[in-house]
């Protein structure tokens, strides 16, 4: 089952640990906030993604089932 990373922008305080742990999927903008790549995660990346989710100090990083939400 493929999963997707998502960040809660309200909880995010730009600590940047996620980008350190998953640089292939997460980069930081000029203010230190994460830019996530849209593609779903597979296999080996999932482990590192989980680590990144656990490392986030404010629980802003979330792993979701890839259901293609639309913003309402």
């Amino acid at each position: 089952m493929s999963r997707r990373l998502r960040v809660n922008p309200i909880a995010c305080e730009a600590h940047g640990m996620c980008a350190e742990l998953l640089p292939e999927r997460i980069t930081l903008d000029e203010w230190g906030y994460p830019i996530l790549s849209e593609q779903p995660l597979e296999g080996a990346e999932l482990q590192n993604a989980l680590r990144a989710v656990q490392a986030c100090p404010t629980f802003a990083l979330i792993l979701e089932r890839d259901a293609g939400r639309r913003r309402d």
Binding site: P9, I10, D29, W31, G32, Y33, D72
Partner: protein, 458 residues
């Protein structure tokens, strides 16, 4: 259609459906709200909610009628109304209805018009929607900065005290009025729900969506006031009648606010697909040559004057111009205004209106506004300004918890396209002599008698 007041009878009087326009604004009085008696005389009493019954005795036939009608939300997002009702009706817990009459869009006056002059029409729609989804409460939310609306709604709710609900829906829902603080994002759906949950009137992260878990953790239907006014008429006259106006892809009528250099700015009811020229004509014609029109509000898009004669006001037609009807605002800009300066001022206003919760919105909108101000204020060269605007726009959109930054970016990007030559000139030569003119677009600093707090929490 005469508006002779009739006494309240328990059986709804059958009335003929209005042909053509006006629909919502039929027999509207210029200086006071229509009373419940006058409203009933004009439109008839609450129609019975027909079978079949949905789960928990909910009379969901109205939802099917709304689906056939193709009614979409009039709050800006244009979401199919029947889908919202269906989602809430399907939920397990008892639902409630929130009427969003906050109308924080500065140039928009349509919801204010409805709540001041036609509150019973809005309440009708809310009560019918409540019956269809099995809700026991209706909360009408209005801006604290609109005292006439507050008073009008309060009186309208008092008139309904003890009045029976629609046949087929059990007892009528409780009605209550709540005031929202005077901020742009305080009218956003999740911000309203947050405030009603005794929190601050700031947007929240989703999931959960309000229709899943909203006020008091109950499934909540949040609808724009105008949308519910349309529901009130569709429930009486049917989907077929609703579709008599407007194109098949965007049926019905809508209220639009016409602003700018016209003889009679204000709120007009149009059929979807009406030409912009006919709207301007209805508004008494332009008083000055036009430069462009801003369609939809401050999250909307610009269309240059040369193309305005071909513009029709429906989403499917406007899409070809990169625009949508949104909150129904048509703000005209005269040739005297500097579009770069106007855009810069709106961008700064939008940046100031950020709830301040999300880094990309706070920093991004601020940087966009500063860069635009350099173009319209500086006397030096703004060489890197245009690429910086494009880059920032790409980085900011979609990265906030609500649609506020997306709206601001949409406006700015549309300005960059529509006024490309003005922007290029400003980048080369700095500000023009029209940059310092007073703003044509409304930028309220302080709405009178407004609450300036967000509510508890911050």
């Amino acid at each position: 259609m005469s508006a002779s007041p009739a006494s309240l009878s328990s059986a709804p009087a059958a009335v003929t459906a209005p042909a053509g326009l006006p629909r919502l604004l039929a027999s509207v009085l210029p200086d006071r709200a229509m009373t419940l008696a006058e409203h009933t005389g004009l439109h008839g009493g609450l129609p019975a909610l027909a079978q079949p019954r949905g789960r928990g005795g909910r009379a969901t036939a109205l939802i099917e009628e709304l689906e056939r009608s193709g009614l979409r939300g009039h709050g800006g997002a244009g979401f199919p109304t029947w889908m919202k009702l269906r989602a809430v009706a399907d939920a397990r817990r008892r639902a409630l209805v929130v009427v969003n009459a906050v109308e924080a869009e500065p140039a928009s006056l349509k919801d204010r018009t409805l709540t001041e002059l036609l509150p019973q029409l809005v309440l009708d729609g809310a009560i019918l929607a409540a019956g269809a989804i099995g809700a026991d409460e209706v909360i009408v939310c209005v801006s604290a900065a609109a005292p006439e609306s507050v008073n009008s709604l309060r009186a309208a709710i008092a008139e309904r005290e003890g009045a029976p609900g629609p046949e087929g829906a059990g007892s009528p829902p409780r009605l209550r009025l709540e005031q929202m603080p005077d901020h742009y994002v305080a009218g956003e759906e999740s911000a309203v729900v947050s405030r009603l949950n005794d929190g601050p009137a700031r947007p929240t992260f989703r999931p959960p969506m309000p229709f899943e878990r909203g006020v008091g953790r109950r499934p909540t239907l949040v609808n724009n006031a105008e949308t519910l006014a349309h529901v009130a008429l569709i429930a009486r006259h049917g989907a077929g009648w609703f579709r008599e106006l407007g194109p098949a892809g965007h049926p019905g009528s809508a209220l639009v606010t016409l602003a700018g250099p016209v003889a009679d700015p204000g709120v007009y009811e149009i059929a979807h697909g009406a030409s912009l020229s006919s709207l301007i004509a209805a508004g008494g014609g332009t008083t000055e040559p036009l430069r462009a029109a801003l369609i939809g509000g401050y999250a909307g898009s610009w269309i240059a004057a040369e193309r305005l004669h071909a513009v029709a006001l429906s989403d499917e037609h406007l899409a070809a111009h990169g625009a949508s009807l949104g909150a129904g605002v048509v703000a005209l800009l005269s040739e005297q205004a500097c579009p770069v300066a106007e855009t810069a001022r709106v961008a700064r206003w939008m940046a100031d209106q950020s709830a301040g919760q999300c880094g990309p919105c706070v920093h991004g909108l601020g940087s966009l506004a500063t860069t635009l101000e350099e173009l319209s204020g500086g006397v030096g060269r703004g060489g890197g300004a245009l690429p910086r605007l494009e880059r920032l726009a790409g980085v900011v959109a979609g990265r906030g918890a609500c649609g506020h930054p997306d709206g601001a970016v949409n406006l700015i990007v549309s300005a960059l396209r529509c006024f490309a030559s003005d922007f290029a000139d400003h980048a080369r030569h700095g500000r023009c002599e029209r940059c310092l003119r007073e703003s044509e677009l409304p930028l309220p600093v302080r709405r009178p008698q407004a609450s300036t707090t967000w509510g508890p929490g911050r």
